[in-house]
Symmetry: C2
């Protein structure tokens, strides 16, 4: 059987959460108990629990005893929207290298997303994001000028722009995410240390104020061996995600 033990343990733990053997809100058995029950060493047990923690099926830890969450995965907005918060949830070191921050005239495909005129000034940010020093994602964000100008006072190598802009009082209220796949271009290939044309998981995002004014249009390209998206649903619950027909370059 060439499936690693930690993965088999992970599946077993997920099943116990799904079928209520490990009830919602109760404490997860200790690593020592799990090692005994499965005749496993601590490494794979810990790795399996870490995967469940990343999926937020298990919460707590870092001092607090780990507890079982509902079998339906969800993620806080901070963790979902902020790479920095997400990495920290995983117990990994987030990193970023700013390649470029520029104010320039909005290209047509940016203007349509930000609902400004073509040629209006926008602030564009190109960053490589890292997990424990490993290249994970290329981020291309475009902000309307009055929000983007705040970034010139921020060290974009220091952490979360999402958190920084919230702290500045910017009304980042809701977002629409579109997920598809795209071939790595020359920039992606060189930054992510992969071959040009390799498949990347792409998330395009428009972030709006409460009034529905777009503030940011971003395109994040992930190495699929570094990050996936996961959703759970049941027949009693509408999926909070929709499969939609493609719109070219939307």
């Amino acid at each position: 059987m060439n499936v690693p033990l930690h993965q088999r343990l992970g599946e077993e733990f997920r099943a116990r959460i799904a079928n209520g053997t490990w009830a919602e809100g109760t404490q997860v058995p200790s690593e020592a108990e799990l090692c005994r029950e499965f005749g496993a060493s601590r490494g794979p047990v810990r790795q399996a629990l870490a995967a469940l923690r990343a999926e937020q099926l298990v919460v707590g830890g870092r001092g607090k005893p780990p507890r079982v969450r509902s079998a339906v995965v969800s993620q806080s907005v901070e963790t979902f929207m902020s790479f920095t918060d997400w990495a920290q949830t995983l117990g990994k070191e987030p990193g970023q290298r700013t390649l470029e921050i520029a104010r320039r005239a909005a290209a047509p495909e940016i203007a349509v997303q930000l609902r400004c005129a073509e040629g209006d000034p926008v602030v564009s940010l190109l960053r490589l994001r890292l997990l424990d020093g490993e290249p994970a994602m290329v981020e291309r964000s475009h902000f309307v000028a009055d929000v983007g100008r705040l970034l010139f006072d921020f060290d974009t190598d220091s952490g979360s722009t999402f958190r920084y802009l919230l702290d500045c009082g910017v009304d980042l209220h809701s977002a629409r995410h579109t997920i598809d796949a795209v071939a790595a271009d020359a920039t992606d290939a060189s930054l992510l240390e992969i071959a040009q044309g390799a498949p990347l998981l792409r998330e395009r995002r428009v972030t709006y104020t409460a009034e529905g004014r777009p503030l940011e249009y971003a395109e994040d390209r992930y190495r699929p061996d570094m990050a996936n998206f996961m959703i759970h649903n049941t027949v009693h619950q509408r999926a909070n995600m929709a499969r939609v027909p493609s719109t070219p370059e939307r």
Copy 2:
């Protein structure tokens, strides 16, 4: 401005839904009114409305007057899980061509997902799915034997296996979906009429009974120019999807 008119109209309509100009539950202005307001012809207006309908921001139609839905996208389980239902929601003709249905010994990566022993019999289905006759997705499903055997009595070229199995009383209760990107292999390339190595949007899915027993493990590979996934979230609402670290071949 080389952004097509229907796309610009779509963005404007989405904004009106997001900011409440078009209030939840109210009737969408008629095509004629929208043509007048935007000085547009019927084609782009209709195309923009169709996009909103696909995202389920607009519901009704087919006789019933179209109404505005909440700006948070969601999709019924049937539409989310069944390609056939989804295509019909889009007003497109779903199609399928069965390449293979086989009972065989479970490979290790299938066994771990279905929590059976390696070598236990599973039923595997390989189908090409079409939208209006156009190749859209390659579906590889693997069922535990007692569910899979039902498929030998079903014409898998005739439509939804999800619907058929539900009608047989199979307890397809919940599912875990993992989304990433993958390069087209030789089978994908020939069926989807694309180059080998081209990026595909991949959805892997494990479907469980209410008790958490896995019944199906499926891998769907979409041409990204045919389907995307979309999710909306707000700061007051947890995202129902999580970004997770990759597990190789999970």
